[in-house]
């Protein structure tokens, strides 16, 4: 399986390096169309998108009895009732009365591991981001659960005072400038049609298309890392580039930021895991 995966990565990377430059050439427009079509097929084909390895492992993990209570996560309430996975991701983050706070998927999973399974999450947290030779339970579980919202649209009701506060905090964080380069999220994601080097930047400061396509395509298999990453990881990397200290994984503040971003993506269709650079 691993060999298959690395072979696949080489193939995809070759495509990225040698195939994609042709995309800018007008005279090869028909090839471009074909390649984009091929790329779409890859994303949709569970046999060709390595992110589906994570989805499969996540499904297994969801059903595996673990922790001192030796039970699975199948009674975990992701917001739509105990054990309901379908459509849960499209409505997260949300307020959970049992935990008395707003949680994103990762936070909720960790809570279920502790309360339902009585699992010591130290090991899980040490593998929060997969590296070569080490899988991440969190990335696997998120891939599985988010995939079960495919074709559905983001809808955050913000019905409770706690959810409204999380949204407001997230919006404030989005514009909060600090550190050695005076950056905030809005520095890069505050205008339409901008780029860093050649990388196009989504404008996440307003609701609509950019926010929808961005939030609806995480988790994503990242070719540059040969790993499937979640929004927690993407934000971790943004703060790294902003010269901030490493943000605490699955913290209330990051959940607030994700609440704001997913609300900006309201109505956006989820199609994950996607494939990204």
């Amino acid at each position: 399986m691993k060999t298959y995966k690395s072979l696949f990565s080489i193939a995809v990377l070759s495509l990225a390096f040698f195939g994609l430059p042709t995309l800018t050439r007008a005279d090869e427009a028909s090839d471009t169309g074909k390649e984009i079509e091929h790329y779409r097929e890859m994303i949709d084909d569970p046999m060709a998108n390595p992110g589906y390895f994570n989805v499969d492992r996540g499904e297994q993990l969801w059903q595996t009895p673990r922790g001192s209570k030796a039970v699975s996560l199948q009674t975990c309430d992701l917001g739509k009732g105990p054990g309901v996975v379908d459509g849960a991701y499209a409505e997260l983050p949300r307020f959970f009365a049992d935990a008395n706070k707003v949680m994103d998927l990762e936070q909720r999973l960790l809570w279920c591991m502790k309360t339902i399974q009585d699992l010591d999450t130290a090991d899980v947290l040490s593998r929060k981001f997969a590296s070569t030779g080490t899988t991440s339970d969190m990335e696997d579980l998120v891939s599985y659960i988010a995939n079960k919202s495919n074709g559905m649209k983001f809808h955050l009701s913000l019905a409770t005072a706690q959810e409204k506060e999380a949204y407001a905090v997230g919006r404030e964080l989005f514009y909060r400038r600090s550190s050695l380069l005076d950056f905030s999220c809005a520095t890069c994601h505050g205008e339409d049609g901008k780029r860093i080097r050649l990388q196009e930047l989504p404008n996440l400061s307003k609701p609509g298309k950019d926010a929808q396509s961005t939030m609806g395509s995480w988790p994503a298999y990242r070719m540059s890392q040969s790993q499937t990453r979640t929004m927690q990881n993407r934000i971790f990397d943004c703060y790294r580039q902003m010269r901030m200290p490493p943000p605490d994984y699955a913290s209330d503040g990051i959940t607030a930021l994700i609440t704001y971003l997913n609300k900006q993506a309201e109505g956006g269709v989820i199609n994950v895991p996607s494939i990204k650079r």
Binding site: R171, S179, L181, A186, C188, R195, I196, R197, L198, A256
Partner: protein
């Protein structure tokens, strides 16, 4: 009704339908997607709530990194006004920042353009992933076009091709450029550009080198 007029009617109907579709598409295109008005109306959090959120994200920053989480007056003001301060506030920012600019004591602002080109290309330094001792880069290319030969440039800032040439290689313009790199917000309140000198992210020599990259006649920026 003749067959021909029947065809005509059909064509007219078809045309009408197409025109309607185009108008509908245009309408959708020009109508911006509106924010959920209820979300827009949600009030800003109190300072206490924000402090708690920040503490949750960065509970124990390592020694020397605490300051990165705090804000100075200008960062705080630009955040509050979402980079669009009212004119009074903008004036206060540019005045405060102007007073903070430190020009080189030797009066020279032009360094080595080749070293400047390297600084403009490097996005390293200051990240928690950087090995200790990593030299900071200015990463100018992330946001600006500079040498025409470099096609991988960003567009967050304006193009700076022919920057020195367009200014007649004037020494005053070079000094102004030094000041802008040292503290962009002395010129433009709440500019997106980092205040490289204020934070000591680039050294005096590095800023001189970048200014030379912009102003040297031999620099590819002016070729």
């Amino acid at each position: 009704m003749s067959r021909r007029s029947n065809d005509k009617l059909l064509m007219r109907n078809l045309f009408g339908t197409c025109a309607l579709a185009v108008v509908a598409a245009l309408f959708q295109w020009i109508t911006p997607v509106r924010a959920d008005p209820r979300a827009d109306a949600i009030e800003r959090p109190s300072a206490e709530v924000m402090a708690r959120a920040l503490k949750s994200i960065w509970p124990n920053p390592k020694a020397g990194w605490e300051k990165r989480i705090e804000q100075d007056d200008t960062q705080s003001s630009c955040s509050r006004y979402r980079n669009d301060p009212p004119s009074e506030e903008a004036k206060a920012i540019t005045e405060r920042e102007t007073a903070r600019i430190v020009l080189p004591t030797d009066g020279k602002v032009l360094g080595d353009w080749k070293a400047g080109e390297k600084i403009a290309s490097s996005g390293r330094g200051g990240q928690f992933s950087d090995p200790p001792g990593t030299e900071n880069g200015g990463n100018c290319y992330a946001c600006h076009q500079l040498a025409k030969s470099e096609v991988a440039y960003g567009t967050l800032g304006p193009s700076l091709t022919n920057y020195g040439k367009d200014r007649g290689y004037s020494l005053d313009a070079a000094k102004a450029a030094y000041a802008k790199i040292f503290d962009s917000e002395a010129t433009f309140a709440c500019s997106n550009m980092p205040r490289f000198g204020i934070h000591g992210f680039l050294s005096e020599q590095q800023i001189k080198d970048v200014v030379a990259f912009l102003f040297d006649k031999e620099s590819p920026v002016n070729k």
